[in-house]
């Protein structure tokens, strides 16, 4: 398995993508690697990296039931096993499948004893592969994008993550993962198999509340976890430090709030490249140096 480090945090807008893209830039100065943006509902890593257009696009299909009405006996088994309510059956009528509700789990396929359900496919999103070069740094960005109107993010995150993992293994390069906001199972899938989980938070009670939910997952799975408190200085960070200790977090790291960070964010350049001498860049480089033995492989 190639080294895998993921960046998550619970609350939106704490700086997950900000930290992940800066670390990706620094790692890219040393060696080739993959950065997977698994925030499929609102992917922004390419914007923070100044990428104008996403590269090569491939569909991510999941299973979709195709009903063979000549074989269907209207027994109702498929509708009964469907947990998402995607298969609707009214009295003496053949089943109808609602695409948006279907999560592609195949329970109906296996439950049908009359072979009336055939494996079809539905594209729930896409995966883009984009080469990124910023100065001397070079790496590959993989971006998952949810198809507009779809609601099941978990199977898409799983699809993109598996492809990214496979590619990292084939090329023997490290993989960095940036997750979306939230604390549901889409996030657990994104951080699965990580050698290190970096939970990015902010010094507000909101950041604290959602950090706890993420730490519940990483502690529950016995994963090696660090906490990065971004925008240090805009509020009280003591409770976050205490929470990190309570959950046995291995390392707690503060990255200060800085004007340069906002400017770099808006310009689409990692701050470590935009203002290398700033305090915020210094603290991110410090974080990278600590992480290096884990990610550089």
């Amino acid at each position: 398995m190639p080294p895998l480090v993921s960046f998550t945090g619970g609350k939106g807008g704490t700086g997950k993508s900000f930290i992940a893209t800066n670390i990706a830039y620094l790692l890219g100065l040393e060696r080739r690697h993959l950065l997977a943006d698994l925030d499929v509902e609102a992917p922004n890593d390419h914007i923070l990296l100044g990428v104008k257009e996403l590269g090569e696009k491939e569909p991510v299909p999941i299973f979709f039931p195709r009903i063979d009405y000549s074989k269907c006996t209207l027994c109702g088994a498929c509708a009964k096993v469907c947990d998402t309510g995607a298969i609707i059956m009214s009295k003496n009528r053949p089943p109808i499948v609602m695409p948006r509700l279907c999560s592609g789990c195949k329970a109906c396929l296996y439950a049908c004893v009359y072979d009336a359900i055939k494996p079809g496919a539905r594209i729930i999103g896409f995966m883009h592969t984009t080469p990124v070069t910023i100065g001397e740094s070079a790496f590959t960005l993989i971006t998952g994008v949810l198809h507009q109107g779809e609601e099941h993010t978990a199977p898409l995150v799983h699809g993109v993550k598996s492809r990214a993992l496979r590619r990292a293994r084939e090329d023997s390069v490290p993989l960095l993962v940036d997750t979306g906001a939230g604390t549901g199972n889409s996030i657990s899938i994104a951080i699965q198999y990580s050698d290190l989980v970096v939970a990015v938070t902010e010094p507000t009670p909101l950041g604290l509340h959602d950090l706890r939910a993420i730490l519940e997952i990483t502690r529950g799975l016995g994963m090696r976890t660090w906490v990065v408190l971004n925008r240090a200085g805009i509020g009280d960070s003591d409770p976050h430090r205490r929470l990190a200790r309570e959950y046995g977090v291995e390392h707690y790291h503060e990255v200060p709030y800085a004007k340069e960070a906002v400017e770099a964010y808006v310009k689409g350049v990692p701050v470590v490249a935009y203002a290398p001498n700033s305090r915020v860049a210094e603290k991110i480089r410090e974080l990278y140096d600590l992480m290096r033995p884990i990610i550089a492989g």
Partner: protein, 329 residues
């Protein structure tokens, strides 16, 4: 004041742009205007509205049960690995030749157990997937309903639907249902927008904020919701404002407010008091007050008129990308 139930959703696509700050300010001002109303926190994976409103305890807390979690009976399992092959989410992990099911991923779909040749997979039923909480009266007078998913559980959108139904019941008929949505455009947000009449879209003048604004706006168009736009932290990147304004003009979205970046906002959060109350004369408070007055005082009393003026001309279609069977038959 309202002769029917009006659902107003605050959404943004991108996280951390100020949804909860806008929602809380609007809720307080609407309550001052005397609306019969309920606020609902529909971000079950990261519920924060209660913190912004200074709610530290609940009057009612109901456990929310949903779904199943699969587990493997070790004495029956022969470690054949079929379950790991068929699991649609990769929840079955292998550790030293043994298989186990990651409970923070499993959705309980029964695909593994149907396929297990040894019948070695069982389910934990009645899983507590979260909480639904009610504060009957916040200090601003209105009730708050909030949902929270258990970390690692799926389908938070279902919980959001429950939260909205609960809030509607508390509201009891006509009045204002003010919904604070999650980040993103997935199941939670779709549940928040279903049935809504009006949406306050919050953005910030960064390329990332703008990209996500367009995504959430397309989704409101699908649901035929009349949008209005609030640009938060507008002064962090003023040169970008024109791009957003141009989009708003072209898409017929009225801009109802511009709020400056203000350190008073995080400071007030640390105190657990809404910024309008903690620092009433701060620039952000004044701007939040102004936009909330506009919505509560001008838009809501004539919401039908507003809706017919700004409702999308036609719904943005949802086109599922279904492929034909490629394997057999």
């Amino acid at each position: 004041m309202l002769d029917s139930k009006v659902e107003l959703v605050v959404a943004s696509g991108k996280g951390g742009v100020g949804k909860s700050t806008v929602t809380s300010s609007l809720a307080i001002v609407a309550a001052e205007h005397g609306y019969k109303m309920v606020a609902a926190d529909a971000d079950a994976e990261a519920p924060n509205l209660h913190i912004v409103l200074g709610v530290a305890s609940w009057d009612r807390e109901e456990p929310y049960y949903e779904g199943r979690v699969a587990y493997i009976l070790e004495d029956k399992c022969t470690n054949c690995g079929v379950c790991a092959e068929v699991c649609p989410l990769g929840a079955v992990e292998e550790k030293g030749g043994k298989y186990w099911i990651n409970p923070f991923i499993c959705e309980g779909c029964i695909t593994c157990s149907i396929n297990c040749p040894e019948h070695a997979i069982r389910y934990k039923h009645r899983v507590q997937a979260g909480w639904i909480r009610l504060r009957e009266k916040t200090k601003y007078g209105f009730p708050l309903v909030s949902g929270e998913i258990t970390p690692g559980r799926p389908n938070s959108g279902k919980l959001v639907t429950e939260v909205k139904n609960y809030a509607s019941k508390v509201l009891g008929g006509e009045g204002l249902l003010l919904v604070d949505a999650a980040a993103g455009i997935g199941c939670q947000v779709i549940s928040s927008l279903t049935g809504a009449h009006l949406a306050v879209l919050v953005t910030e003048p960064t390329p990332a904020g703008f990209s996500d604004l367009q995504r959430i706006h397309r989704l409101t168009k699908h649901f035929m919701i009349a949008p209005m736009l609030v640009i938060n932290k507008y002064d962090i990147n003023e040169e970008f404002i024109e791009t957003i304004e141009e989009y708003a003009r072209a898409e017929n979205i009225p801009i109802v407010g511009r709020i400056p970046y203000d350190p008073a906002v995080p400071k007030s959060m640390a105190k657990g008091v809404p910024v309008m109350e903690a620092y009433p004369s701060s620039p952000a408070s004044k701007a939040l007050k102004e936009v909330s007055e506009k919505i509560a005082g001008e838009i809501l009393p004539k919401w039908r008129e507003f809706r017919s003026k700004y409702k999308p001309r036609k719904p943005e279609p949802y086109i599922p990308l279904i492929l034909h069977d490629t394997s057999r038959g």
